[in-house]
């Protein structure tokens, strides 16, 4: 299982210039649609917003992980954005977000391999070292190289 099956080049947004949470999410969802993971962007956006309403996905330490499970998702996918300007995300610790992973999960999750990678990345985000490496990536190659180190 390669990380690139989840995270296409189209969905790596470095830098991301949007300056508010909704535009960031729109752009990331759009990129997942461009990569073919998302087939119904509106349905997927709805799921994302519904999830945000139950509590911000800004988990603190400058990271957000907006995610949605929706019939609008064809295959599990991941998008990454490194924000040119930190964006307010209503985070748990109040800190603005510098990097965001967006996760798309299909309604009927086929096979656990994709999910396992996503879970492994989620777990990694708790690791301070991993996060500081993440904040340092300058382009898609560096990001993919970093994510290759994550064991699914």
């Amino acid at each position: 299982m390669k990380i690139t099956e989840l995270l296409s080049r189209e969905s790596i947004l470095i830098p991301m210039t949007a300056t508010d949470k909704e535009s960031v999410m729109e752009a990331m969802a759009e990129s997942l649609a461009a990569a073919g993971h998302v087939v119904d962007k509106n349905a997927y956006m709805e799921a994302l917003i519904a999830r945000e309403k139950t509590g911000s996905t800004g988990i603190g330490f400058g990271v957000a992980i907006p995610h949605g499970k929706s019939a609008g998702v064809a295959t599990a996918g991941l998008a990454f954005a490194k924000l040119a300007q930190p964006v307010d995300w209503n985070s748990l610790d109040g800190a603005p977000v510098q990097a965001a992973f967006m996760i798309a999960v299909p309604e009927a999750a086929a096979g656990n391999d994709h999910l396992k990678i996503l879970i492994a990345i989620s777990r990694k985000l708790i690791d301070d070292e991993f996060r500081s490496s993440l904040f340092r990536v300058k382009n898609a190659e560096e990001l993919l190289a970093l994510l290759e180190t994550v064991e699914g």
Partner: protein, 464 residues
């Protein structure tokens, strides 16, 4: 060293569940705390907290926005927070859990002071038994309150409650209300123990149907288990699109749970009970009063078999029915046999207190009063919590009492009242023999219960 366990869970099950788990584990590692984390996410339950792990844990952290089968942790100190808090403040959560564990450990006499509910349901017991005990412990206060109020209403004479609007009538009405709730609550909280909150409504409905279908407390036990497991199955197999997921707990589970439980109760339990009752009635009529000792034996055993259930009702109705034609000996047998179950259990709690929970020992005292007042329901909590050992003991004692009552030619003219009937001149024929018959059955029941019941396992379950 403090041993902690945790459960993390979130609705989507790909991100927060695992970040929370990671965050807790990281904090625990850095502080040298032993922590086992169960994750309930999109790929299912991983690192499940086994009964052994739960038993060994000093405290439980629940960081979840979904249902995590919390009742597994009954009796343990639990720190419960939304999943996000474990990500934001894992250290603070560990502090809270450690403090909760300490508090539990420092509580003087931890084992004895543990809440009665957890004591009544030690984790060492098997699943179904634990569910049963949960139902019984919620039902018990209703039996005590209802039974004693009805008994008090007899103080003004056993017919006093027939005067509408009088205090005795109102006491009887209050007691009756408590009794009407008894089986629904038993059933509801068995189901609650199995399926948590969504199980309660179907369980209550099933229990109410058990009452309406004359299925008694045994029917209520059945409806509780049916409702509980039906809801567990529904929770597991109904998959809703995510945006409709909210409908599941508020619409689908109560609706389908109550519907399925209700239909099963009516068609599978209710109809056979109706035919059982008419068959039993015919059978009793065929025996008639010719072989009076056999009749007494049967009536007695039937009274104790399900205490308010179909078998009991047939026997009672048979006895009361004969009063109209001035045949009064079977009524005496029926009443005596209805008095010995609570009396025998009371005596048994005195003979072998170690075989009863504290709750039951206390309930034994009121059972004595209920027994004397011919309120057989006083025995139900004991019978419901350990039916296979208690019911046979009650049946044997009551059967002997019923047979003796017939043998001594005792007669009773009133359909209720127990010892209060004795205050009415000439209502009881051969009162001393009657007392003897009741005493013998009481002793037989008490000895059998005391021999058959297993001692309560005084497992502290790591409360130290």
């Amino acid at each position: 060293m403090t041993k902690l366990i945790a459960v993390t869970s979130c609705p989507t099950g790909v991100a927060h569940t695992y970040m929370a788990a990671e965050s807790l584990q990281k904090a625990a590692r850095s502080r040298g705390i032993e922590l086992h984390v169960e994750t309930r996410g999109a790929i299912g339950v991983e690192n499940e907290n086994t009964p052994d792990l739960i038993a060994a844990a000093d405290a439980v952290i629940i960081a979840a926005d979904t249902d995590v089968l919390e009742e597994r942790f009954a009796g343990k100190p639990v720190v419960k927070v939304p999943v996000a808090q474990a990500i934001r403040d894992a250290n603070g959560l560990l502090d809270q859990a450690v403090a909760a564990a300490k508090e539990q450990a420092n509580r003087p006499n931890a084992a004895a002071a543990a809440p009665a509910k957890t004591q009544a349901a030690p984790a060492g017991r098997k699943g179904p038994y634990k569910h049963l005990m949960n139902g019984v412990s919620y039902m018990l206060p209703l039996v005590v309150a209802g039974g004693l109020l009805i008994a008090i209403s007899f103080i003004w004479g056993i017919h006093a409650f027939e005067v509408k609007g009088s205090l005795p009538a109102n006491l009887k009405m209050i007691g009756g209300a408590a009794f009407a709730l008894m089986v629904p609550i038993l059933s509801g909280f068995i189901a609650y123990s199995i399926a948590e909150k969504p199980g309660l409504a179907p369980g209550l409905v099933g229990g109410m149907l058990a009452t309406q279908l004359s299925a008694g407390f045994l029917g209520g036990i059945i409806s509780g288990f049916v409702a509980g497991y039906v809801v567990v199955a529904l929770k597991k197999y109904i998959r809703m699109p995510r945006n409709l997921e909210g409908l599941k707990p508020i619409l689908l589970l109560p609706l389908l749970g109550s519907l399925i439980t209700g239909l099963l109760m009516i068609y599978v339990i209710g109809e056979p009970i109706q035919s059982l009752m008419s068959a039993l009635t015919k059978w009793l009529e065929s025996i008639g009063t010719t072989n009076s000792i056999l009749l007494g034996l049967l009536l007695g055993g039937m009274m104790a078999f399900d205490m308010g259930g179909p078998v009991n009702k047939v026997a009672y109705t048979f006895g009361v029915g004969l009063l109209a034609s001035n045949v009064t000996a079977p009524m005496a047998a029926v009443m005596a046999a209805g008095m010995t179950p609570p009396l025998g259990l009371w005596l048994s709690t005195l003979l072998t207190p170690g075989k009863f929970t504290r709750e039951e020992r206390d309930a034994g005292k009121s059972a004595a009063v209920l027994g004397l007042s011919f309120i057989t329901e006083g025995a139900i909590p004991f019978a419901a919590s350990d039916p296979l050992r208690v019911i046979p003991s009650l049946v044997v004692g009551s059967a002997i009492t019923g047979a003796l009552s017939m043998l001594f030619h005792v007669t009773v003219l009133a359909p209720h009242g127990g010892i209060f009937v004795a205050f009415i001149p000439n209502a009881v024929g051969h009162p001393l023999s009657y007392a003897l018959a009741i005493a013998v059955g009481t002793v037989v029941t008490a000895v059998m219960v005391s021999l058959l019941k297993k001692p309560i396992e005084a497992k502290g379950e790591n409360t130290k």
